[in-house]
Amino acid sequence: MAIGAYQDAQNSQERSVERSADGASGGAGSIADLFPRLVTMQRLCGSAAFALLAVQAHTLLKPGQIECAMQSAGSQDRIDKFLLENSEFLLKHLFSSPCPVIFAPQGAAVFNSSPATVVNTEAGSGINLVFPVQLGTMGNGLVVFLDARAMLNNDMLIDLHRKSLTVMREKLRLAFGMTSGSENLNDREIECLQLVGNGMKSEAIGEQLNLSVHTVNAYLGSATTKLNAVNRIQAIAKAIRLGVIA
């Protein structure tokens, strides 16, 4: 997939999930909701197979362990083979560096000046991408894309890495039965909430942000819904507790 195709894929994705920051239109209700997000990411990098791997940290008492939590259909063998060859390296990398890893055959046209760690593989093999996510003592894992055909660039890497973080975070949140909300607020909603929290009226906010008062109220309404609050006052309280606004 060339750059043009990548941009097309990104545009269509932006059309389908307008309001979300990281392709996360509303919090995931079950672990299965993470699957379409991974498919979207897979399309972005034109990859043949993906896997969401959960990782138990290595401690003095227990060795680290990689477990496949989710994978694209029919890719079991490829993922197993990839893990068999690389799990030791990946475990070490996850707990020593936050940077993405690109597995590419020697001499392949991998772009310069990238924060990614590049691992040379044998000639003729495809390009594999790995995004490490280390949230803390739990919620650690790797998001893997095998045989990525898209033209790689830094913008795409950080985009995919952000989406990987969101997926792992949602997975952890689901494990603890927590609902999200704050994550899906967009900049405008946050801005309006902040200003209402500062004591401004909708009219004044509209004037300051060059918006109609109805638009401001619409933003506040959608923010209230997203935060699962009954009114805008509760929405402000929730947003402050969540650290979304100051």
Partner: protein, 223 residues
């Protein structure tokens, strides 16, 4: 406004030249921030300010706020901390803090993990700056990429091997909520020996209580 791809590219160049502060300045520019404070939340101590790694905050603010921020971060529950990792949040600056009027009285806090280190990036903004939540998420990852390349920032100062296998064993049982008597029964040694191990652990880790020692061990991934 600098584009994201170009920002990551330029940051990489700073890193290759070994310019930590140059990279941090660039991150500030991308974030639209005025100044930054970078701290280790896993090295918090009330005795000194070593946990502040690099900063161009006004010094009085570092003295007044640095400890509060990092301490607050260290006290958050573990699940919450994991859910907040790489996720920007905003906090009002206390009215008692003397801050030059050109600054906005709210800061952005971004906790993240790099290697074995738990870090916190705190950004201050111009009074009239408009701050994009979306950009802060880029900043979280970019800062992690950048700082992870400076081993002096993210290395683990505590050699895990300082603790003996027996000590780690005791520590992991304490972490499971067992008492000294129970541990003695489980691993078949005397209660006093268990207590000796625990005293030795507390000496080595500089912890004042058992709970602190366990918290330390969990954060350092020893147990």
């Amino acid at each position: 406004m600098i584009a994201r791809g170009a920002f990551i590219h330029e940051l990489e160049a700073q890193r290759n030249r070994g310019h930590l502060d140059g990279g941090m300045d660039l991150i500030c520019t991308y974030a639209g921030a005025k100044s930054y404070l970078l701290a280790r939340t896993d090295l918090y101590s009330d005795r000194n300010h070593d946990f502040v790694l690099t900063s161009n905050w006004p010094f009085n603010l570092v003295r007044k706020y640095g400890a509060t921020l990092v301490d607050g971060e260290a006290r958050t529950s573990e699940v919450r901390r994991c859910l907040q990792a790489f996720e920007p949040s905003f906090r009002e600056i206390d009215a008692s803090v003397d801050l030059s009027p050109e600054y906005a009285r709210r800061m952005c806090l971004i906790p993240y993990n790099a290697g074995q280190a738990r870090m916190l990036l705190a950004l201050l903004f111009d009074k009239d700056a408009s701050v994009s939540h979306d950009r802060m998420r880029d900043v979280a990852l970019a800062t992690a990429y950048h700082t992870s390349q400076f081993p002096e920032l993210v290395s683990n100062n505590y050699a895990l091997s300082d603790l003996t296998v027996r000590e780690v064993e005791c520590l992991s049982w304490i972490g499971e909520g067992k008492t000294s008597d129970e541990i003695a029964l489980i691993i078949g040694i005397s209660r006093n020996t268990v207590n000796n191990y625990i005293t030795s652990i507390m000496n080595k880790t500089g912890a004042k209580t058992r709970s602190e020692a366990v918290a330390f061990a969990v954060r350092q991934r020893i147990i």
